[in-house]
Symmetry: D2
Subunit: 294 residues, 4 copies
C-alpha cells in the first residue's frame, strides 16, 4: 500500500508521524520534526525536510541514529527483534539464510567494526549483492572514525530514501529504483525471438551463483516484467542465460549436436543500483552480440 | 618425429611394417598387406590401401581388430598394459585421472557393452570431450549388434587415420586435425587488443569444467598458437574467457566498479572435430559480439 | 479531425453518409448501404460492412468503383479535378511534381493500361515509393483482365481502409499505419548517443534519392517522433544517414582525418508498409552494426 | 622488375646510379652520393644514405629538387614531358583524365602556389584521393614559405621512398605499402559467404564516386587479392558495396521484395595510407556489422 503526498499534507501531525515514523530506524523524531514543514509539493521536498531534521539534530541524537541500527546478520536480525523494515531488507539480501560459516564471518566483522567505531556497520543492503556487501564491509573497516560516521549516516539516508519512495506516491520520486531488462532479437528471421527461456543469476563467487529471476520472452522478444525492477539493482556481477539452442530447435532449424550456441551466457556487472541496465541479445545460431542499451 | 612418404615407399617391407605396424592396434598384418601396394603418391592412398586390407580380411580377423582393442578406462589401460598409443590417447582424454565413481561408471558400461556385443566399446577418444564420450557410450549401448560392429570398425579406422596422419608427412594429409582459434578486436581504438588473458575451458557438466588452454593475445590480437591445433577438436561444450576488464584498466580507461564487462565468457559447442572454429571477440567496455569466423 | 465510432453510430443516416461518403471515391452508396448495419462495436466491423456492400453490389456498380478512380498523375489529378483525397494522396507520393518526361511516362502507361483493361490503373499510392509504383504499374500491365479487376478492387479497398482509419477513432483500428524508427547507441560510453543528426532518404534510383525526414537524436538516442509514422511506410529502398563523426568530435574524441566513420549510411528495404521497421545503429568510432529491431 | 640489394651493393657505381638515378626526380646526384655508402645491409639504410645526401646538399641544389618537379596536372604532365615515374603517378591518381574545369582549377592553384612560393606544388599523389589532394593543395597555399619548403621536401622524400620500395627487394622494406581488404561472414550458416560481389568506390564528392576495385568473395569469404594492396591506400572516403541480396537469393533463401538488405554499403575513411584497413562484413538477411579488423 502506498500513501499519497496530498493526504500526508492534510493528515494530523500524529497520523503523519505514525505513517512515516519508521522511515528512520527507531527515530520517529525525524518525521516529527519534518511534519512542521508541511505542505510539501514533492516527495523530494519531504525527504529534504527529513534530512535537514537529521542534520539539525544534536550530535548525541545523530549518533543514536547509527547506534540504533541493527547489525547485518547480527543477533537482533537473527532473533527477529530488529525493526520490521530492517528484517525485510536483510532477508531480501539473503542475510537470513547464511551458512554457519558466513554468520561467523559477519560476527567477526561486526565485532571488529563495533570495537573500532563504536556503532554497528550500516549499509543500505538493498543496493548491494552479497559479494559487494562483504567487499564494502572489509573496505570500510579500514576507514577513519570521522569518515566512517559520515559514511554510516549517508547509508542511513539511503535506507530512509528507499523506504520513503516505497511508502509515498506523488510528484518528485526519489529515484531509488533501478531496472534490469533484456530483449532477444533473431537475426535469421528479423523478428523478436519469442519463447526464449531467460535466467538471471547473481554471481556471488567463482563457485557460487544465485538465481535472481526466471522468465520467458514474449511476442516482442522481451520479458513481461523487467528482470529486476521497482527497487535498486544490487551492485554485483550477473550472468544472463538464454535458451537459444532450444529456441532454434523449436523453430525447426537443423543444428549440429552440440549446437554452436546452446545456452548463451552474458556476464556483466552493475555499479549503479539506480540505473537502467538494458542488456539485449541479438543472435543467430552462429553469432550473438550484446551491449548496454537503453 | 614424423616419417616421410618417400622413405616409406623406399623402405624394406620389414622397415615399413616396423614403422606402421602399430597404426592398427595389435594388427601389424594391416601394414603388412598395405606394403605390397607401394609406391603411394599420397598419404591418402596409403591409408586407402590399409582400409582395403581391413575390408578384404576374413571376418575372424576383422572381428579380432575389435576384440584386441583395450576398454576405455578399463583394466588394461589402468594397468598400463594397453598399447602405448592407446595409453597416450586415453590419458589425453583424461581417462587416466577419473574418480573412483567415474571408474565404476566405466566398469559398468564396459561390462554391459561387452555382454551385449561381445567386444569392447571402441571410440576414437581424441574426437570427444568427456561428456560426449559418455553420451556416445550410453547411446551406442542401445544399438544393434550389426550396426554396432560397423560403428566400432569405423572408429578403429578413425583412430588409425589420426595415428597415420601424425606419423607420416607428405602429400595428401588425412585431414584429421581441427583448429580452435580466437582474435580480440578493440572497437574503442580500432586496433587489435594485445595482452588480453584468454582461457579455454571444456564444460564437462553444470558443475565441472576443465581448463584446456591459457594464452595471452599478441600485438595482432591473436594467440601465438591456436588454442587447440594439430589434433581433432574434441566434441564438447566450451567456454572462452577473456580478461577484458583488466585489458581496459591497463589501457587507462576509467571503468565503473564492478565494470560492465570484466571477464567476458563465450559459451559455444564443437560438433566437427576436424573443422576450424574461429571464435573472435569484438568488444568495447560496453559491448561485445562473437560469431563463427574463418 | 477524427470522428468517433460512438457518434457515428448515433448519427442520422444523412450525417453518417456525409461523414463517410468519400471513403470510396465518388461512391457514397457504399456508406449508404453500410449505415443500415449500425451500431458497430469496432471500426473493423464498420469496414467489413462497407466491404460487404461493395461485394453485394451489381457488377456495373462494382466496375464503376474502378472507372470513377482518377488516373495516377493523369489529367484529372493535374487539373485538380480529382477528389480531394486522391489529390492529397497523389501529392504525398510526389506525383504532382513530376518532370515532363515522367508525366509522359505516366501518360503512356495510363493509356496502355486503359486500352487493355478498360479502367484506370488503380494503386494505393500511400503504400509505394516512386520506384515501387512504376515497377508495380509495369508488372500489372502484364496481368489478365479478370486478375486485374480483382487487383484493382483490392487496391480500392486498401485506399478506403486508410481513409477510414484516418477518419474514425475507436476500438479495432484497421492497422493501416506502419512505423520506421531508429535508435543510436554509443558503445564507447555505454550510453544512448544524443544529438546525432539523422537523415532518411528514399532511394528512387541509382542516381536519385529524396530526403524523407531529418531529425536529431534525443537524450535517449531516439528521435522524438518516428521517422515515418501514422501512415503506411512506402514500399521502397531507403538510406539512413547518421552524423556519427560530428557526434564523436562534439564528444571531444580525437579522430583521424578523415575519420574511419564519418557519415554512416544504412541501406535497407521496406516490403511491409504496415510493419514496424526499427533500424538501430550501435556504434563506436571504429565499428557499427544494425539489425531489424522491434 | 625489381633489383635486389645484394646486386646493387656489388654493382659498379655507374650501374648503381643508372638503376637508382630516377628515384629523386631529375637528381641522379642523390644516388651518386649514396653509392659511396655501400654496402647497405638493409633497404632502409640505402634510403637513409639518400636522405643524408639530400640534407647535406647545398641550399641551391636542395631547392632545385623542388623546382625540378613537374606541376600536378600541369603542362609538363599534359604534354607528357615530365619524368616517366611522375607521369605514371599522376595518371594513377587520375590527373590525366580531368575535365577542362578541373584542369582550369589546377592551373589556377598551380599558378597561385608558384607565385607565392617560387616552386611547384609537390605532393606524393599516390597517398591521396582526389578530394584529399585538392583539400591539401588549398591548405598548403595558406602555409608559410619556410614551412612549405620543408613540407615540399618531405613529399619529395615520400615520393622517393615509394619509388625505391617498388624498385629494390631486400631486408628492411620502407613500408610504403598499405592494404585494404574485406571478408564476408554469413551468420545464418556460420560459414564464410562465397561468391558475394564486392565493389570498392572512392567517394570524390557528394555526387561523384570512382570505382576502384571489383571482386567476388572466394570460398573463404575473402577476395583473392586485397582490394588495394602493394601500394599506399590513398587518403579518401570509400564505400564498399556488397551484393548481399543476390548472395542470399542464390542460397535459396526466401526474401521479401525489396529485401531488407540488398546491396549493403559500408562508408569509411582512410587516413593512414601505409596502414592495413580490414573492413569485414558479418551479416544475415536482417543484420550486419563491420569494424576495423586486422
Amino acid at each position: 500500500m502506498s500513501l499519497d503526498l496530498a493526504s500526508l499534507n492534510a493528515a494530523t501531525r500524529a497520523d503523519f508521524v505514525a505513517a512515516l515514523g519508521a522511515v528512520f530506524e527507531h527515530a520517529p523524531w525525524v518525521a516529527e520534526a519534518a511534519a512542521g514543514g508541511r505542505p510539501f509539493a514533492r516527495v523530494t521536498d519531504l525527504f529534504a525536510a527529513m534530512r535537514e531534521a537529521v542534520e539539525a539534530a544534536p550530535a548525541v541524537r545523530r549518533l543514536a541514529l547509527l547506534t540504533n541500527h541493527p547489525e547485518l546478520a547480527g543477533r537482533a536480525a537473527r532473533a527477529g527483534t530488529a525493526a520490521p523494515d530492517s528484517l525485510a531488507e536483510q532477508a531480501a539480501a539473503g542475510l537470513d539464510r547464511l551458512s554457519e560459516a558466513e554468520y561467523a564471518r559477519f560476527e567477526a566483522l561486526n565485532a571488529a567494526y563495533r570495537d573500532r567505531f563504536g556503532f554497528p556497520f550500516i549499509l543500505c543492503v538493498k543496493r548491494h549483492g552479497r559479494a559487494s556487501l562483504l567487499r564494502t564491509f572489509a573496505a570500510r573497516l579500514e576507514s577513519t572514525p570521522e569518515a566512517e560516521r559520515r559514511a554510516a549516516e549517508a547509508e542511513v539516508l539511503r535506507i530512509a530514501a528507499i523506504r520513503l519512495d516505497a511508502l509515498v506516491a506523488g510528484e518528485g520520486s526519489l529515484q531509488t529504483k533501478g531496472r534490469l531488462s533484456t530483449h532477444v532479437l533473431d537475426t535469421v528471421t528479423g523478428r523478436p525471438a519469442a519463447g526464449v527461456a531467460v535466467e538471471l543469476a547473481e554471481i556471488v563467487s567463482e563457485s557460487e551463483a544465485t538465481i535472481v529471476a526466471r522468465a520467458r520472452t514474449n511476442a516482442d522478444g522481451r520479458t513481461d516484467a523487467p528482470l529486476i525492477g521497482g527497487r535498486p539493482v544490487p551492485i554485483a556481477a550477473y550472468e544472463l542465460r538464454f535458451g537459444l539452442g532450444d529456441y532454434h530447435r523449436a523453430a525447426g532449424l537443423a543444428l549440429p549436436e552440440p549446437p554452436f550456441l546452446d545456452v548463451v551466457t552474458l556476464r556483466f556487472g552493475v555499479a549503479e543500483p539506480e540505473g537502467h541496465y538494458h542488456v539485449p541479445l541479438v543472435a543467430s545460431p552462429w553469432s550473438f552480440q550484446t551491449y548496454r542499451g537503453s
